[in-house]
Amino acid sequence: MKCIRIRGLTFKYSGCEWYALKNVSLDVEEGEFILVSGPSGGGKTTLARTIVGLIPHFYHGVYNGEVYVYDMLVSKTPIFEISRYVGYLFQNPENQIFMTTVERDIAFGLEFRGFNRDEMRERVRRVLKILNIEHLAGRRIDELSGGEKQKVALAGVLALNPKIIILDEPTAYLAPKSALELMRFLKKLNEEYNTTIILIDHRLDLASQVASRLIIVSEGEIVLDKPIREGFSEIVYKRYGVNVPTLVRIYEKVRRYGVFKHPPLSVDEFTSILKMYLKR
């Protein structure tokens, strides 16, 4: 089932001379894990905003085309409605934590939805468990590390049970190991709960291990939209301004020997293919 359908989307921020998105079309099936990358200012964040409704309801401008999330036409549906289906996580945990304690912050979004206290407590308990942060339950936000804060922010988003989660560079402020852990949780959410994940990130070396589809947005257009491995094969030819993972760079140099059919995305994959080749 298609959870997101975008047709001919064109958008220009008001006061801006150039178009941030030019005639973009895109379909997303439920349960996909999409990695969106591309040069800064290329339109990735703009695209994400059009899905949750920040465009056109929060950011105004010249808007043409259609964006459907399930059967809701985003331009005609308030963000309050869309956010029941689409969760959105930003880069900086500082900007999206509003309370002083963990549980209260997770419950923040629930307080406006008409749940009673027991229902809220149940949901908070549930997301703490899913994200493996039950030990953080009684803690104060200022005691937490960056990675823990980002998980709390994610828990707050999850509490509403959204079917789609968009994350805009969620690892930007995280150290590498915390970043990898976050990616693994996203994978778990995707596999166990069939949550559609749209991850915007520059850290392709980490994200390539969890995503199934690669989309590159550059200068307002989708210049690449392929399953993850094919996507990386193409990057070898044309950079598109993205951080090419080290393994893919190695693949690029030894492609002509025909050892690897497509770019290996993990060290395990690389070594087992190389091992098999060398056994001959």
Binding site: S83, M99, F112
Partner: protein, 250 residues
């Protein structure tokens, strides 16, 4: 190098003691009553006596040092009030009144804000039937004070590292030298507020829908005791004021 301490006036820093655990509504009412009292009382001795319960509370809450520091930062201002009033009124007691009022007023405010988290503040406003948009605005403003303070410090650090000198020169020069700090702070504050507004939107902030706070406020024995003691003190002082009893005759 001086670190910016303006934030210290309203900043909440968690401590584990009875005062912190009191119901925020009780603290709010008590603070407001003391503030009103500070304005209503007209006698130096009574105002001076009023200092006692407030200092006791700050001691119990272990925020006395913090309060003292904020008073210290404001000492030039306090001295100014003292001097201007003395020159106009020509009476020491007369000029002490506004000074004491100022200190007491601040003490009452600080007791509340030092010991109550922004979210508790927001909830107490809500329980007092204030519209959601107001309680949320206040809560968020308080919550982001430390963030803003860090921002100011970061900008200051960056500009000092580019050779900016802020302790030099006459008044006009110093004002000019603050521009490299003020302008970026203003720009970044605006950016930040947009980012936070965005976050609130996608989390489903809706000031028009029914709001069910996750936390339930409950009055405990300690709360009733605290409120009772303070009301007795306040009422006594009011009575003393009405009856015109003076302790020191000047």
């Amino acid at each position: 190098m001086r670190r910016i301490n303006i934030a210290r006036f309203l900043e909440f820093e968690y401590k584990d003691n009875i005062i912190f655990k009191l119901d925020p509504r009780v603290k709010l009412i008590t603070s407001i009553l003391y503030m009103v009292l500070a304005i209503v009382l007209n006698d130096v001795s009574l105002l001076a006596i009023m200092l006692i319960p407030l200092i006791v509370i700050t001691l119990l809450a272990r925020v006395l040092v913090k309060f003292a520091k904020s008073m210290l930062t404001l000492s030039p201002f306090i001295a100014l009030i003292l001097i201007v009033n003395y020159l106009t009124l020509n009476s020491l007691t007369g000029s002490l009144i506004p000074v004491l009022r100022f200190i007491l007023f601040l003490a009452a405010i600080d007791i509340f804000f030092f010991t109550t988290s922004p979210d508790d503040f927001g909830i107490s406003l809500e329980y007092m039937r204030l519209p959601l948009s107001i309680s949320l605005s206040f809560m968020l403003a308080l919550r982001f004070i430390p963030t803003m303070a860090t921002l100011v410090n970061d900008i200051l650090d960056a500009q000092l590292s580019r050779g900016l000198k802020i302790d030099q020169g006459g008044f006009m020069k110093r004002i000019k030298n603050i521009m490299p700090v003020i302008i970026p702070v203003i720009i970044l504050s605006i950016k930040k507020s947009i980012e936070v507004a965005e976050s609130l939107e996608v989390r489903g902030l809706n000031p028009y829908s029914k709001h069910t706070p996750y936390v339930e406020l409950n009055i405990s024995k300690n709360d009733i005791l605290f409120l009772a003691i303070n009301i007795i003190i306040i009422v006594s002082l009011v009575m003393l004021s009405i009856l015109n009893i003076r302790f020191f005759c000047f």
